[in-house]
């Protein structure tokens, strides 16, 4: 790999890291997305700020009814951590379906969120889970709702002087469950998503009291399928009901064609995977 010349800094503290940021700097955690772009010279930051050695950012912690995940929590940890599996199933599943073993051992959940790739697994999961992004800069701390976070392809709401230091995710309460599923480029669930969906549901006895559905791989940005979620609320969550609601799954997105799917096919997959994710989320309700 032959990237353009860049400065590399590996700060020892968060303050030092924040001080190194600027318009031409890029934060690197696991490097699984940044390094391929740099080696192809598609992206050439002047400074790479490697936050990989910062202390205290690699933990998953409970906090009241929520839990937080630090910027250095790797996909492998997210996939196997009991708290994530029970309290944010969609995110644990997304992590387990990301990349291969090497990628999961290096790549971070926060990094994948901040990268805002249209075909990644994590953005849909955090959207469906209603996560909050904690962004820090030298000026202080800012909270950004997941629904406000994904602005465009590879563009998040983070400012150049901010680091996504953690995610805060509400734990599943009684009647709540979530799930993630996708079709991968190499078939099954392997590789980047051709299309995928994350879902969170809150069941009130026999009906859907609340729901969030998010799609990946389908549209010009990773986004919530609000029309489908609204259509779900009040139904009994049966296969037929979810399927009917899923007809609205891509109402909120502008679908893009790529090598893996036409617009028609992606719209179809959106409804298939939104249905599968919601049905699984209902099954996962504890």
């Amino acid at each position: 790999m032959y990237p353009r010349e860049f400065d590399y800094v590996a700060p020892a503290s968060l303050d030092e890291a924040l001080g190194a940021l600027g318009d031409d700097a890029k934060v690197m955690a696991g490097g699984m997305s940044l390094i391929p772009l740099m080696k192809m010279r598609l992206f050439s930051p002047a400074v790479v700020v490697d936050i990989g050695r910062l202390p205290g950012l690699d933990t998953v912690e409970e906090q009241n009814g929520d839990f937080t995940m630090g910027a250095l929590v790797r996909h492998a940890t997210t996939a196997s951590h009991p708290l994530v599996a029970q309290s944010a199933t969609a995110l644990a599943t997304a992590a387990s379906l990301t990349g291969d073993v090497q990628v999961r051992n290096r790549g971070t959940t926060c990094g994948a969120v901040a990268h805002a790739d249209l075909v990644a697994d994590q953005p849909a999961a955090v959207l469906a889970l209603g996560a909050t992004m904690i962004a820090q800069s030298s000026g202080g701390t800012r909270e950004i709702a997941a629904s406000e976070f994904f602005v465009d392809a590879l563009t998040s709401a983070l400012e150049p002087d901010e680091i996504l230091t953690s995610l805060r995710i509400p734990k599943h309460g009684p009647g709540e469950g979530s799930a993630y599923d996708k079709l991968g480029r190499r078939g099954g669930r392997s590789d980047y998503a051709i299309a995928g969906a994350a879902a969170w549901v809150k069941m009130d006895g026999v009906s859907v009291a609340d729901a969030r559905v998010a799609l990946t791989g389908v549209g010009t940005k990773v986004s919530l399928a609000n029309a489908m979620a609204e259509a779900l609320i009040g139904t009994d969550g049966s296969e037929a009901a979810v399927k009917e609601a899923s007809e609205k799954s891509s109402d909120d997105v502008t679908i893009i064609e790529d090598l893996y799917g036409s617009e028609e096919y992606k719209a179809h997959l959106a409804s298939v995977y939104a249905t599968r994710a919601v049905r699984q989320a209902i099954e996962n309700v504890t």
């Binding site: 790999m1 032959y2 990237p3 353009r4 010349e5 391929p36 080696k39 192809m40 010279r41 291969d100 079709l183 480029r185 190499r186 078939g187 099954g188 392997s190 590789d191 980047y192 051709i194 090598l259 893996y260 799917g261 036409s262 096919y265 179809h268 997959l269 298939v272």
Partner: protein
């Protein structure tokens, strides 16, 4: 005397410890003092006239030593090719570019980063022209790729017309007449066998040093063909190949892509000579995708005519094969390899026409299977469609038409003879190991539940073991590289004074395990422990003439030569042993690491004593010269023709089009096996690449010639996680073409598998009315086919 535990044993690969521990030395690991690095400025457009190339900014950038463009290297001429039909590749673009990735300028700098920075700073002004990408459009000549050629169709191969000397019969009238019969059942499908990008773990890499005192090149390259590389460089620089030493150290995968000699290898030599310093270039993965040869790339209509009781009456293929913009090594000759297996395992007249067209894309050439996967794909897909049409089991229809065991050697209409075969035995074995009847029951039960489960059968014949001298007469000659024309195998075996053995071969591995396999052959012949046999390869200065590892040829051609060399050594060793034992040479028997007198095992002498004596004048019999080595060449009278039948059980998710391979069975027959574990490894790799073509891979150029699949992000390769466990079995039908009875196995898995998968998917979807889907069977295509069939 054969110690069969070695020959035919699953000896562990001797190469692996070094490679697994990361201690293998590859070209890019080489860092001689004063090394310079190369980067290329490459065309971002598919077809254009070059108005200007401005290298001034690049030339003055830090670390830049030189920038070369076409005029600097024009005197060397275009890249030499074995089959110079079509347009040869200019070393650097000559006033025009004809595919994305074509090299325009070469930057040489103190380090690779500076070289790349400067290459990016070269400013090229283009007059963009419409690109020719679509094969039918290319054939129409509506737009010509090269003004100087009469047509985009640069060659046409026909079943009878390629070998004038043989006066082969044109069987087209027979096939056409069969179609006129009242009882004819005719099945015809247009199919694409898509363009693929070969992907080796190690990218191509070359490092050249020039000794100006002695005027010699030393070239290290990740190549399958060091002798051809030395010959090509010598030819282009007007030197003797003896003054070019080419070395292929560890090579991390080739698959045919490293069988070409490339312009970058010539250019690195040019720069090393011009600048008086060592020069290295290692391709990036993007360059590997766009500027190293591609494979396949056919569209064609296959037609099978037969009777409703399953008798084949004739087969016709009319296809167009994509050559890319420039012809390199064999380019135009690749479809000819397919032609030789056009009739597969079956007796029937064949009409076969393949037009070779130029397009504004990267050159195509040999990629694992090279012409044979394409040919077998069309044949076996249409046989499957025919069986479905007449409602006959796909195994039964094959059984009804193939050459019978007692008909070998069987001369085909293309003039070649199948050396040996027992196709029925392989199919019987497949039925047994797969539990075929049970699979059918399971498939039908799944169908009754509304699931889309299918069984695919795929047979193949391969032609390999390229060594017959006759090949040189029909175009597969190396003389354009300043080398002998034909494909001899060679082997030099030396028993050293300590009874260790050095085997020096003219062919080297790119992962096939020569160091292990050749040691087994020698150990088996001489009775010397295989651990004491060292195998050397890949250095044209040290090693005998040999063409290289490709076309599944090494074991059956060079392996056979080495086998014969061992036999020669035994003759001399017997004389020495007889002298020491005071016996007659004809009474000497070699066994268990020693020689003894027949019938008197107590009159025995160890190899260590024989070897030592061989190098001491006072212990040699009169008239016997010192030393114990033999060098033999081997030229087989025919190619070898491995065969087999594969079976896949798949399930399709009709909601998404996703294909899952549930089970995969392969019965392959490559004759005798020296190391069955290595054979199985080759089959695993081959099947994996065939499945890659069937389900995932495909090089895609858009209509203006942009390569949309220039990184592994957009060129999905199969991984172990995506595949079932392969159930491999074998039948053994030795060949008499070489003394070991071996046939070659490097490509068989690829040739047998892609159509097996497609046949299975079509079987799964046949209840819905699907008749064909073009590869790769990505979910979107499978889903679209289901939609189309149900509308």
């Amino acid at each position: 005397m054969a110690t069969t535990s070695v020959m035919g044993g699953d000896v562990r690969r001797r190469e692996d410890p070094a490679l697994i521990k990361g201690r293998g030395v590859y070209v890019d690991d080489l860092q001689p003092t004063g090394l310079l690095h190369v980067a290329f400025s490459r065309a971002p457009v598919g077809r254009a006239k070059i108005k200007s190339v401005d290298t001034s900014a690049a030339s003055s950038m830090p670390g830049v030593v030189a920038v070369f463009t076409h005029d600097d290297v024009a005197e060397l001429g275009p890249l030499v090719a074995q089959v110079p039909i079509g347009k040869l590749r200019p070393l650097l673009a000559a006033g025009e570019v004809n595919h994305v990735g074509e090299a325009i300028a070469m930057v040489v700098a103190e380090n690779r980063y500076q070289a790349q920075d400067a290459a990016d700073a070269i400013d090229v002004d283009y007059d963009i022209l419409p690109a020719v990408i679509d094969l039918k459009e290319a054939k129409s000549d509506a737009t010509k790729v090269h003004d100087e050629l009469d047509s985009n169709v640069i060659h046409t191969w026909t079943y009878h017309g390629y070998w004038a000397a043989l006066g082969l019969e044109d069987q087209t009238p027979q096939v056409d007449a069969a179609m006129e019969r009242d009882d004819a059942v005719i099945v015809s499908i247009e199919m694409t066998n898509q363009r693929l990008i070969p992907v080796a773990i190690e990218p191509r890499s070359v490092m050249v040093e020039y000794n100006s005192g002695y005027e010699r090149f030393t070239v290290h390259s990740a190549t399958q063909v060091p002798h051809a590389l030395a010959g090509a460089i010598a030819t282009m620089f007007g030197m003797s190949p003896s003054d070019v030493r080419a070395i292929a150290p560890e090579v991390g995968g080739g698959f045919g892509a490293k069988l070409n000699v490339y312009n970058d290898e010539i250019l690195a030599a040019f720069a090393a000579k011009k600048l008086g310093r060592p020069v290295k270039w290692t391709e990036t993965r993007r360059e590997a995708a766009g500027a190293t040869i591609h494979g396949r790339g056919w569209i064609g209509t296959a037609t099978l005519v037969g009777t409703k009781d399953g008798q084949f009456l004739g087969y016709k293929l009319e296809a167009i094969a994509d050559m890319g913009a420039y012809s390199q090594n064999f380019t135009v000759a690749i479809p000819l390899l397919g032609l030789w297996v056009a009739s597969g395992q079956y007796k029937m007249p064949v009409s076969w026409t393949v037009d070779c067209v130029v397009t504004n894309t990267m050159t195509t050439d040999a990629y694992r299977g090279a012409g044979r996967p394409e040919a077998i794909y069309y044949l076996e897909r249409i046989i499957d469609a025919f069986a479905r049409e007449i409602g006959m089991d796909p195994i039964e229809v094959r059984r009804k038409n193939f050459w019978q065991k007692d008909e070998f050697p069987a001369t085909m209409g293309c003039g070649f003879s199948l050396d040996s075969g027992d196709y029925e035995a392989a199919i019987d074995k497949l039925i047994e190991v797969s539990g075929y009847e049970d699979l059918i029951r399971r498939r039908d039960e799944a169908r009754a539940e509304g699931r889309q489960v299918g069984i695919g059968i795929g047979s193949y014949v391969e032609v390999c073991g390229f060594g017959p001298a006759v090949l040189a007469e029909i175009g597969f000659s190396w003389s354009n590289y300043g080398l002998p024309a034909s494909f001899n195998g060679s082997g030099l075996v030396r028993v050293n004074p300590d009874a260790s053995v050095t085997v020096v071969i003219g062919t080297g591995p790119t992962g096939q395990g020569h160091e292990t396999t050749w040691a087994q052959i020698i150990s088996d012949r001489l009775g010397i422990p295989w651990e004491n046999v060292r195998v050397r390869h890949g250095d044209t200065q040290e090693h005998p003439m040999g063409i290289g590892t490709f076309g599944s040829r090494s074991i059956s051609v060079d392996g056979a030569a080495t086998y014969n060399a061992a036999e020669e050594i035994k003759v001399k060793a017997a004389k020495i042993a007889a002298h020491l034992l005071e016996a007659a040479p004809e009474d000497i028997v070699f066994e268990d690491g020693a020689a003894h007198v027949a019938g008197s095992p107590e009159r025995s002498i160890e190899w260590t004593a024989i070897a030592k004596s061989a190098y001491q004048a006072h212990t040699l019999p009169e008239g016997v010269e010192s030393g114990l080595e033999a060098h033999t060449a081997f030229s087989p009278g025919n190619a070898t023709w491995p065969f087999g039948t594969h079976l896949a059980l798949v399930e399709v998710d009709a909601d998404t089009g996703d294909v899952e391979i549930l089970e995969y069975y392969a019965v392959d027959d490559c004759g005798n096996r020296v190391n069955p574990m290595i054979v199985d490894g080759q089959i695993h790799g081959g099947i994996t690449q065939g499945i890659g073509q069937a389900l995932f891979e495909g090089a895609v150029y858009d209509s203006s010639g942009n390569l949309l699949t220039s990184s592994l992000l957009d060129y999905p390769l199969p991984t172990a996680a995506d595949l079932p466990s392969f159930q491999l079995s074998h039948t053994v039908t030795p060949t008499d073409v070489n003394p070991m009875g071996v046939k070659g196995i490097g490509e068989a898995g690829t040739i047998g598998s892609a159509h097996t998968i497609v046949n299975a998917v079509v079987d799964a979807l046949s209840p819905l009315g699907v008749k064909h889907i073009d590869m790769p069977l990505r979910p979107k295509r499978v889903w679209a086919a289901i939609q189309e069939a149900s509308n």
